[in-house]
């Protein structure tokens, strides 16, 4: 098995704008078991960095530790060893509200008990920026409106959440995360329930958000091709081990991917320097 290899080939643009990394993960490990009878799952050590304006993908087969890594980055679980820093502060040191001002975590949404309007849902993203018991200000509405515009959900801001299609709902959830004005945007399998058009649109939008704003976007996904096309950096996990970190072209190695995903694959380098993965049934 390949040892953990770290490459810090950030884009020159990102380097020019900031020297210190936005997100710094240093030898982070975590161990847990689903229940008492289940075997322990160990993640890590994982080491990588991400800059402002970068779109990062976490790749790996099922049960490779992708979601576990995400909970560490979101501060929901504390790493057993190692450090996770955002803008130089350890994530575990941040109190709940401060953390929510810096990190937005987009999960598959849960079922709503009482249906909300889209704008009400997006306004919730302003919660960490005020007192605990609060009424939204003009400024909050403005920011929520901007967030809706950024994801192209302006047209249905008055609709109810339970009347939206899967793709529309995904955009609204993303808008709520943007309303948090985070520095780090984490997304757990956001492409799961989208058709191919929706997937491309989402990744393109995330790419634009990272480029045009100060966000660092990190996305957990199964979409090898989309990650290769849109991401600056990928983190490849397998059975809890961090196998390789770097630009897609550096990580997408045929033998490595075949071993990790247990499928016959071919990797083809395209003219734009980004790899493409082809299923190759022998």
């Amino acid at each position: 098995m390949t040892t953990a290899e770290t490459t810090t080939a950030a884009r020159p643009l990102a380097n020019a704008r900031s020297v210190a990394p936005r997100l710094k993960v240093e030898q982070a490990t975590y161990t847990h078991a689903a229940d008492r009878s289940a075997p322990q799952f160990t993640l890590g050590p994982v080491t990588f960095e991400a800059q402002q304006h970068e779109l990062v993908a976490v790749l790996g087969p099922n049960a490779s530790g992708k979601s576990t890594l995400l909970t560490l980055l979101a501060g929901l679980n504390k790493p057993f060893s190692g450090r996770i820093e955002i803008d130089g502060t350890e994530v575990g040191q941040l109190d709940l509200r401060l953390r929510a001002q810096r990190i937005a975590f987009v999960q598959q949404e849960s079922e709503l008990l009482f249906p909300l309007r889209v704008w009400e849902y997006v306004l919730q993203g302003r919660y960490p920026h005020g007192r605990r018991l609060r009424f939204e200000s003009e400024q909050d509405c403005l920011l929520a409106g901007n967030a809706l515009a950024q994801v192209g959900a302006d047209a249905f801001r008055e609709r109810r959440m339970d009347q939206l299609s899967g793709g529309e709902k995904q955009r609204v959830i993303l808008a709520r995360a943007l309303a948090q004005q985070p520095s780090l945007l984490l997304l757990d399998e956001p492409t799961q329930h989208l058709d191919i058009g929706g997937k491309v649109e989402l990744l393109r939008r995330l790419r634009r958000l990272a480029e045009n704003n100060r966000y660092t976007v990190l996305v957990v996904t199964h979409e090898l091709d989309l990650a290769a096309e849109f991401c600056d950096r990928v983190v490849l996990l397998h059975k809890g081990k961090c196998l390789r970190v770097g630009a897609p072209a550096e990580v997408y190695d045929r033998a490595l991917l075949e071993e990790v995903f247990e499928a016959p694959l071919e990797v083809e380098m395209r003219a734009n320097g980004r790899p493409r993965v082809i299923l190759h049934e022998r």
Binding site: I103, E109, S110, L116, Y127, R132, R157
Partner: protein
């Protein structure tokens, strides 16, 4: 995009306060002694502006000694039960949660009866015991209502039904075997009514009401987020465990408070928050005060009807609320199961 403003909350509360005032005045008029509405308003206003000696003694007696204490008790109980209902609905993420349906009221009644059997003369003990009974029951129902680590809506309601019938049986057993007449009737504890005044001063009861409603109100922004998902609320910076603890204690306190003075009046905590949601939306920053006022209105009106429809005898007020509440519960259940 029109977010909720404090102004809108104040306006709606003022309007509900007006409706409550009208209900109180009409309720003050009903009874054997004839007194007209202008006379009632004069009696209320004269006391308010400090001209007590201008009130005829008969009017004073009828309004302040007989009718108003009962109405004030109704306001207390209605506000407490509907706020507790709204609290439990958020806590358990179940729109059908209600102190009575979940057995919390029965638990509070059992606590109250035990305290009456052990130390009937200790002031305030009955409220503490009712609170303990309520808190214990909701904890038990919560753990029984979980399946695979998740609160399952149907299992939770079943656990509530089982708790109600078990606790009612224990109450009946105790009331038949224990000697003494401080216990009031069995109908009082199982159905609830407002006919008897509590031994403790209503000032203390109102203070507890304000503490209970106020503590739930301080979490209302958090509850809005918890209702869209606990995990998501955590991501947005809500201290979910702290909020749940506050709501759990406060809603149990409110249920214990209501049951200790009026027995187990049912369905108020279900009916009122739902009606308020239909009228004003599900934002807890408005829902909590609106439910408190709406609950007060409902009980004042229900008690009025309980006294009027079968005059000269009267029904327990719990029978009135159950007559309306049970069908609404079925309707809501069928709608949510769909």
């Amino acid at each position: 995009m029109r977010p909720l403003t404090p102004r809108r909350v104040a306006l709606i509360c003022a309007a509900l306060g007006g409706v409550l005032f009208i209900a109180v005045v009409i309720s003050l008029r009903m009874g054997a002694y004839p007194i007209s509405i202008p006379e009632i308003v004069m009696t209320l206003v004269n006391r308010f502006i400090g001209r007590r000696n201008e009130i005829p003694p008969d009017f004073w007696n009828v309004v302040y000694e007989i009718r108003l204490p009962r109405i004030a008790l109704g306001i207390l109980v209605g506000a407490a039960l509907s706020t507790a209902g709204a609290g439990f609905q958020a806590l358990l993420r179940n729109p059908l949660a209600d102190p009575y349906v979940l057995g919390v009221s029965s638990g509070a009644a059992l606590g109250a009866i035990i305290s009456l059997a052990v130390a009937p003369q200790t002031p305030g003990l009955i409220q503490i015991a009712a609170f303990a009974g309520a808190a214990g029951t909701i904890a038990a129902v919560y753990f029984l209502g979980r399946r695979g680590g998740q609160v399952d809506s149907a299992t939770l309601l079943l656990a509530g039904i089982v708790a109600v019938s078990f606790l009612s049986a224990v109450i009946m057993f105790l009331m038949t075997t224990l000697p003494g007449h401080e216990f009031r009737g069995m109908a009082f504890w199982l159905m609830g009514d407002l006919a008897t005044q509590p031994a403790i001063s209503s000032r203390w009861l109102y203070l507890l009401l304000i503490i209970g409603v106020g503590s739930i109100y301080t979490t209302s922004s958090d509850l809005n987020l918890i209702l869209t998902g606990e995990q998501e609320a955590r991501h947005l910076g809500v201290n979910v465990n702290r909020v749940k603890l506050v709501v759990y204690v406060a809603a149990s306190l409110l249920t214990g408070l209501a049951v200790s003075v009026s027995g187990a009046i049912g369905y108020v905590g279900l009916l009122v928050p739902h009606l308020m949601r239909m009228m004003f939306g599900s934002d807890y920053r408005l829902l909590i005060p609106a439910s408190a006022l709406g609950g007060a209105i409902l009980i004042v009106v229900a008690d009025l009807l309980a006294r009027v429809v079968v005059a000269p005898t009267e029904l327990p007020v719990g029978a009135m609320t159950a007559l309306v509440g049970a069908p609404v519960f079925i309707y809501l259940m069928r709608r949510s199961v769909r």
